[in-house]
Amino acid sequence: MGYLCIGLTLLYGISGLLVNHTSHDFNPSYTITTQKGRVSPLASGKSPDMSYVNQCLEELSITAQFKNVAVLTPGTIRIFVEGNTIDVTTATGETVEEKIARRPILFGLNYLHLNKGKGAWTWIADIYALALCLLALTGVLMIRGKRRRRALFLTTIGFLCPLLYLILLP
């Protein structure tokens, strides 16, 4: 059973490290990069239309597939293309691109760790969790012989670590 758990333990371990550090500056599944730029401003009095959207994409050399466009405020449009969102301030022509890309392999690891797919993976993850419990319990039964004291000491630390954290938590 220990061998069966190696792959999944690594999956959950690596993904766990990444997911622990999720913040507004770090997404463990995607790389997000922003880039400022400039396009021709929209002539005053004109409303943004598809020809202006196409002009913006052309000036920014964006060839990714067009998805949609939204007028967020009277002076800002948001253009959506595959893997990129472009905010254009129409009066000045200032642009902010936000490019997203899935992190290779890590996206998959996090997808499974966070069980985003649900369904069959829920069963696999449940079986793995039960297997881990079984490994831990049978591990306790193996504490005997010369190294008994050391093993008990380390096992106690393993229990105390989360317990103390919860007790000392402000």
Binding site: Y30, K67, F80
Partner: protein
């Protein structure tokens, strides 16, 4: 054997990472009638606590955890926020620019002046935009939808 295992592993990751077609997230949609976002924004107290189905363009998604998204209204310059319990539903960043149907409960969120400022600061940090906190005065109430299920096309 080693090659076969490697192949299976690669296949496993590819299948795990490419399972987005028309995405169905959370609970299945049960309502048939779509309520306009503009209607909810116009008369939020009428809809408070009610289960609604809305439809619109996804204009923003939480970049950190995928725990909220903004849906554009049917009238210009308006949006509504859909918030889900962290982890219950995770909106993928790829949803931006796609049409979504979302079912959920309309919620009223009451904030004190301090809470409203903290929230504005938090949102500004998320979006990388500047916020003038002095413009936030007194307690405020905003309305959002607690998302239960969604379909993103």
């Amino acid at each position: 054997m080693k090659k076969q295992s490697l192949f299976l592993l690669i296949l496993f990751f590819i299948s795990a990472t490419s399972c987005f077609g028309a995405m169905k997230l959370g609970a299945p949609l049960t309502l048939q009638e779509v309520t306009k976002v503009s209607e909810i924004n116009k008369h939020p107290e009428q809809y408070k606590g009610k289960r609604v189905l809305i439809e619109g363009l996804v204009v923003n998604v939480c970049a950190a955890r995928g725990c909220w998204m903004d849906i554009a209204s049917d009238v210009p310059f308006e949006q509504i926020k859909v918030k889900v319990v962290d982890g219950e539903i995770v909106f993928p960043l790829e949803a931006k620019g796609q049409m979504a149907k979302v079912e959920g409960i309309v919620q009223a969120i009451h904030l004190t002046e301090g809470q409203a400022r903290s929230m504005a600061q938090h949102q500004a940090k998320e979006s990388g935009e500047q916020v003038d906190l002095s413009t936030i005065k007194g307690p405020t109430t905003f309305y959002r939808i607690r998302g239960l299920g969604a379909e993103i096309n």
